[in-house]
């Protein structure tokens, strides 16, 4: 279970949010809303542990994530604006390298299956630089299928994806929630997801709050 207590983040001289508290437990999905520049990505990076919040604490199963470090990163999968894949590697190589780094052992067959499921059938052996934006995004998202993380942190996962891919990704997230996973995501698109508990969090002008 993830708990955020009285979080405050400052970027530059601007205080993005303050006294932000919420929690996320098994099978729950949290939607993060907010206009551009309201601090959505900052909040996500803080929760990943990439960024040190100015105030407040983030706890995982009751313990501060700073102290858990590697035990925590094992449980978290973050897909940000940048896909984090190498242009000169093929989709297959990218997926396998990333999985090894994540400490997940996947066989070549599993990697092929994951890429097929994510809709990259026939593109597995191409360097990702020749793929389209949407296809590159799919390579990054294929990690969702290979990873055993409990908490998914997805920053605008639907950008560049076509309609079919958006639906497929929703299905993947739904399955993750059904397994007792947690997901935390931002999107500007209207996406309907009605699995498990859905929470909403609004950042920015209209005040903050968990609905």
């Amino acid at each position: 279970m993830l708990e955020v207590v009285d979080l405050e983040c400052v970027r530059g001289d601007r205080r993005l949010f303050t006294n932000l508290s919420f929690s996320l437990s098994k099978g729950e999905l949290l939607y993060l809303y907010g206009h551009n520049g309201s601090g959505k990505t900052t909040l996500m990076r803080a929760i990943c542990g990439l960024l040190q919040p100015t105030e407040g604490e983030i706890r995982w199963d009751g313990e501060p994530i700073r102290e858990l470090s590697e035990e925590y990163t094992r449980e978290v999968l973050y897909i940000g604006h940048k896909n984090g894949i190498k242009d000169d590697l093929t989709a297959l190589e990218n997926l396998r390298v990333l999985s090894t780094l994540d400490g997940v052992h996947i066989t070549e067959e599993q990697a092929w299956d994951a890429l097929k499921r994510i809709g990259l059938h026939g593109f597995e052996d191409l360097p990702t630089q020749v793929l389209s934006q949407g296809q590159k995004r799919r390579v990054a998202l294929a990690r969702l299928l290979a990873h055993q993380a409990r908490l998914w942190i997805l920053d605008e996962p639907f950008t560049a994806l076509d309609k079919a891919a958006v639906e497929m990704l929703q299905q993947v997230i739904r399955e993750h929630l059904d397994r007792g996973g947690m997901a935390f995501l931002t999107t500007h698109q209207e996406v309907e997801l009605t699995a498990g508990q859905v929470k909403q969090l609004q950042l920015g002008k209209g005040g903050q709050g968990c609905v």
């Binding site: 990439l50 960024l51 973050y78 604006h81 894949i85 190498k86 000169d88």
Partner: protein
């Protein structure tokens, strides 16, 4: 854990193989610099023999500086570095893997090329042997120390100049002992002492540099 190390080394080697021009630039630079000196100074054997260790070592130092900028920059730009920070692996181990791969593609070619270039300076066989040994010990140390600078200046504009300013003072001992060992051997004094010092620097760098670079990366990515 060792598996992760190998995975990252392998990944970076594959990437280097697919971007050969980047690697060849470094080697080309080294060859050009070292070869220009005999042409500029003239075929005076005694002078050449005298400057050989210094020239080869300075060229190796500059070549390794040139290569540093790319060490983390590409991974930073495409988000791969961010993902490395989020893996359940010790970051210093990943840094060590990256530096190892970096040295294999930028350092080892210099070491292999050095004896060929040394012939232009009429270095004795003993001199050439010691030159190779010192470069073999010195270039990994240069890559390791440089990694700290590269990590600190990540994402800064004009990072290349800053890296040189930060790292050069730290690499000067490597240069002094490296060139000194060859000189001492050529003049008949024996360079064992210098070589031991180089080895000591390498061991220190192997231990501390990955930790320091990992800490610097965390700050830079934030």
């Amino acid at each position: 854990m060792f598996e992760t190390f190998l995975a990252i080394v392998k990944r970076d080697l594959i990437l280097a193989m697919r971007r050969r021009s980047d690697v060849l630039t470094i080697l080309f630079f080294f060859v050009i610099v070292v070869s220009l000196f005999p042409l500029g100074i003239g075929p005076e054997m005694n002078t050449l023999r005298l400057i050989a260790p210094g020239v080869v070592w300075v060229a190796a130092l500059l070549a390794s500086m040139l290569a540093l900028e790319r060490l983390f920059a590409i991974d930073y730009a495409d988000g791969a570095l961010e993902q490395m920070l989020l893996t359940p692996q010790p970051l210093s181990l990943l840094v060590l893997g990256k530096v190892t791969a970096h040295w294999l593609v930028t350092g080892v070619p210099l070491v292999l090329m050095a004896p060929v270039l040394g012939i232009q300076y009429d270095l004795s066989l003993d001199g050439l042997r010691v030159l190779v040994i010192t470069l073999l010990l010195g270039t990994p140390a240069l890559s390791l120390i440089g990694a700290i600078g590269a990590a600190l200046t990540l994402g800064l504009r004009g990072g290349g100049v800053l890296v040189s300013l930060l790292v050069l003072p730290l690499t000067i001992p490597v240069l002094i002992f490296g060139a000194g060992a060859v000189e001492a051997t050529v003049s008949g004094l024996g360079g064992e002492g210098h070589i031991s010092m180089l080895a000591a620097i390498l061991v220190m760098a192997l231990f501390f540099a990955p930790l320091a670079a990992a800490a610097a990366l965390r700050v830079s990515v934030e």
